[in-house]
Symmetry: C2
Subunit: 139 residues, 2 copies
């Protein structure tokens, strides 16, 4: 069972044009075609697109998503390259996690501070992510 562009788009909640765009950009693999030229997508495509969209919302660019996706089919006895890339992505994710947690705490305390907290507090939300940006080392 395969899906047409329209079906995939609908199921994945994206525009048909987006599928073509992703295909052009090499993010979606080219699906097989009928004699007529119509694309026939495997159903997993829908999950794939969910993954792409969600990754974007986590701050990954399409280029990075492509990298992440490339990790799927590492040929078993994985290249060192792949492992290195995985490690890099893990580090990136850990940093994001740390910052998100930090931001979360700040927001949480902000909500409380709305009620309590007399005056003149340094802003927790700015503080939550400041002071390092790129320059913090993982090790």
């Amino acid at each position: 069972m395969t899906l047409s562009t329209g079906k995939v788009a609908k199921l994945a909640g994206v525009n048909v044009e987006t599928l073509r765009f992703y295909e052009r950009e090499g993010i979606l693999p080219e699906p097989p075609r009928r004699a007529s030229g119509y694309r026939e997508y495997p159903p997993e495509t829908v999950e794939l697109i969910h993954f792409i969209k969600r990754s974007q919302e986590l701050g990954f660019s399409l280029k990075e998503v492509k990298e992440l996706l490339s990790l799927r089919k590492v040929p078993r006895r994985a290249s060192k390259k792949a492992t290195t890339l995985v490690d890099a992505k893990l580090a990136e994710i850990d940093l994001k996690l740390r910052d998100l947690r930090s931001m979360r705490e700040a927001l949480e305390s902000l909500r409380c501070a709305c009620a309590s907290n007399g005056s003149s507090s340094a802003c927790p939300i700015i503080e939550s992510l400041s002071g390092r940006s790129e320059s913090e080392e993982p090790g």
Copy 2:
């Protein structure tokens, strides 16, 4: 002690034009000016820009960053609006956290799978974020 555009830009690791752009967009507050028209930034501006950049890397748009920043100066006995916004942002962050953790696990298991794992495994990385996207409820 105040900072010129050039100083701020250098310290924050962004282009001078970016500062002007953020100002135009209302993300950076307009700094005081000298008689000559030169901007005089308070030093916190640097932290502010770090915050902005980092927030973007966490998948927030400039519009969303603006919202986040607006939460700084809720007028003590905070408006319901502010609290609502905070709650919305918290939910957003929680979703991001969940997905990042999930993605992290998948990558972790991918790295192991490179060594072990005989054949024909469903791809963990796609699975990690698929199956819901928007449609998952928090409660």
